[in-house]
C-alpha cells in the first residue's frame, strides 16, 4: 500500500464513522418522536399527578 492509501483509508473510516453516528442519532430521534406522536394520538398524555391511592383499612 502506498502512503496515500493509508491517508485515504483513514479519512474514509472517519467519514463512515461520523456518518454512522449522525445517522444513528437522527434515526433514533425520529423513531422516538414517532412513538411519542402515536401515544399522544392514542390520547395518553403525561400526567403530573395520579389519583387516589390504596384505600386504608
Amino acid at each position: 500500500m502506498s502512503h496515500a492509501a493509508y491517508v485515504i483509508a483513514s479519512y474514509l473510516v472517519a467519514a463512515l464513522t461520523v456518518a454512522g453516528l449522525v445517522l444513528w442519532v437522527v434515526g433514533d430521534g425520529r423513531a422516538r418522536r414517532r412513538e411519542l406522536k402515536a401515544l399522544e394520538a392514542a390520547g395518553i398524555r403525561r400526567r403530573s399527578a395520579q389519583t387516589a391511592g390504596g384505600d386504608d383499612k
Binding site: Q50, G53, G54, D56
Partner: protein, 207 residues
C-alpha cells in the same frame, strides 16, 4: 410492641404503585391485605420487608427489643418464591435457615422435626426439596417461619397451592403466633380463616 406504617407510598420503575398507606398493628394483631391482581400487595410487603425503598413515609416499631433499627430485621418474609434450594434436602435447607437466621429476642424457634410435624409433613425431610409437590414445598417454606423466631411475619399469598386441610393448619399456625404476641401481615386472595384481623383493601390507581 406496635408496628406503625405512616404515609407509605412506593414506586416501581417510574410509576407510583400506591400512595399514602398507613396502619398500626399491636402485638397479636394481623393485617390482611387484599385487592385485585397488580394492585400492589406484593409491592407493599416488599417495602415492609425493606427490600424496596419507600418513596415516602416510614415504618417503625414501638416497644420492640432494643438494638433493632428496622422492623425488617425482626421479620420473616415469605414471598412468591420459597427461598429453598432444590438440590439440597429439606432438612439441609431448614437447618441452614435455622442457623443462618437465628432467633430474634423474645422467642425461640422449634426443632426441625417439630416444624415439619407442625406443617403436617413429618418424615419427608430427607428428600431433596425439588422432589416435593408444589403444596408440600409451600408448607416446608412455612416450616421455615417456625424454625427461627421472628415476631413479625410478612406473608405473600401464603396459601396459594395449599389444600383445604393445609389451609386450616396454616390458620392454626398464624393463630398460635398471634397468641404469643406476634404480628402477621398477609397478602391474599382467599380468606385465611383467622380472627382478630384488620383489613387493608388495595385498589391501585384507578384512572
Amino acid at each position: 410492641m406496635r408496628l406503625l406504617a405512616e404515609g407509605l407510598s412506593a414506586r416501581r420503575g417510574e410509576d407510583l404503585i400506591f400512595h399514602d398507606i398507613s396502619f398500626v398493628l399491636a402485638a397479636g394483631e394481623a393485617l390482611v391485605v387484599t385487592g385485585p391482581n397488580g394492585s400492589g400487595k406484593s409491592t407493599l410487603l416488599r417495602v415492609l420487608a425493606g427490600l424496596l425503598g419507600a418513596e415516602s413515609g416510614r415504618i417503625h416499631l414501638e416497644g420492640g427489643p432494643p438494638g433493632f433499627e428496622h422492623p425488617h430485621e425482626l421479620s420473616h418474609y415469605l414471598g412468591h418464591r420459597n427461598a429453598m434450594k432444590r438440590e439440597l434436602t429439606v432438612e439441609e435447607n431448614l437447618s441452614f435457615w435455622q442457623r443462618f437466621l437465628g432467633d430474634s429476642p423474645g422467642g425461640a424457634g422449634i426443632a426441625l422435626d417439630a416444624a415439619a410435624e407442625a406443617v403436617g409433613l413429618a418424615g419427608i425431610t430427607h428428600l431433596p426439596f425439588g422432589y416435593l409437590s408444589a403444596g408440600q414445598q409451600r408448607r416446608m417454606a412455612m416450616a421455615k417461619l417456625l424454625v427461627a423466631y421472628r415476631p413479625i411475619w410478612l406473608l405473600d399469598e401464603p396459601t396459594a397451592a395449599l389444600d383445604a386441610g393445609a389451609d386450616r393448619l396454616f390458620a392454626g399456625l398464624v393463630a398460635t403466633h398471634l397468641d404469643r404476641g406476634g404480628i402477621v401481615i398477609a397478602a391474599t386472595h382467599q380468606p385465611l380463616g383467622i380472627e382478630r384481623t384488620k383489613a387493608l383493601q388495595m385498589t391501585g390507581f384507578v384512572h
